[in-house]
Amino acid sequence: MDWGGRGESVMGDPRPPRAEGDTLPAMDSDEELLRRLRAGDERGFVDLVERHNGAMLRLALSFVPSRAVAEEVVQDTWLAALRGLGAFEGRSSLKTWLFTILVNRARTTGVREARSVPIADAGPVVDASRFGPDGGWAVPPEHWIEEAENRIDAVKLSELLRVLLDTLPARQREVVLLRDVEELTSADVCEVLAISEANQRVLLHRGRARLRQALESELGGAPR
């Protein structure tokens, strides 16, 4: 692996060592990389790609059915970003701006509509059978936090989360991805996906609840 997540650049970088005084890519802000990019520095672009491409690919995969199409969408997005560089004013973060372009591109491929027919998902987020007639827990949440924090290898846990995220309905996944994985603000999520605050909150609620349930099923104790 050449780079870890969350902006830390690690081992195996095939590029030549940097000149002295040059900062590591992880240390440069997006603003600094943009400045270098605007000054015609190819390395500035590659560093931006290193930082954001993985997240963009993951988001694209949420919209289109195949990896090949997702990679195309991501490449289109980078090209659109380069061409629109002059128009980027820094009102939103660079990441939010890139995601907004990406979602527009992904949606215009029109593939998703064919793939996912909207499914009414309006029931309670926790199965009604888990509550008694008085609305209190009859089958309370099984404990699993300790399991997740102490007994499971972080890499395995991360892999599990990745798999579980994929099982969410697309619209819930997009919101959870942007909000909880990419850690955008709710305002930015609304902007990227062009949805209302209320809609965002409903999708987030359903997505998180499903994810929690899936974690409980995977990691929880006694069988129900």
Binding site: E42, A55, L79, V126, W144, I145, R162, L165, L204, H205
Partner: protein, 93 residues
């Protein structure tokens, strides 16, 4: 024959939340989207309900775990493709 109970709470505050309602309000609670009155009802419920407290803790843990899912690495092929793309863009003038 139906027995009607007197409405003991009719003039006091809103009825307390039950667990099944609490789980539906968790996101609004975490997002700070509840009214003051509802947030207080939520907190009052939590104070007396270990299961809902656990549920809320699991929700926070779910969010925390999601935040640790790293994006996949940039493959050499992608890096090459994107470097080419950059050079084509530069050539556009």
């Amino acid at each position: 024959m139906r027995i009607r109970f007197p409405r003991l709470r009719a003039r006091s505050r809103q009825p307390e939340l039950v667990c099944q309602q609490v789980v539906e309000l968790v996101t609004d609670y975490l997002e700070g989207a509840l009214s003051d009155a509802d947030r207080q009802r939520f907190d009052r419920h939590l104070a007396g309900c270990p299961h809902c407290t656990e549920y809320l803790a699991q929700m926070r843990e779910t969010i925390r775990l999601a935040g640790r899912v790293a994006p996949e690495d940039l493959t050499p092929a992608m890096r090459t493709d994107l470097t080419d793309l950059y050079r084509r863009w530069q050539a556009e003038g």
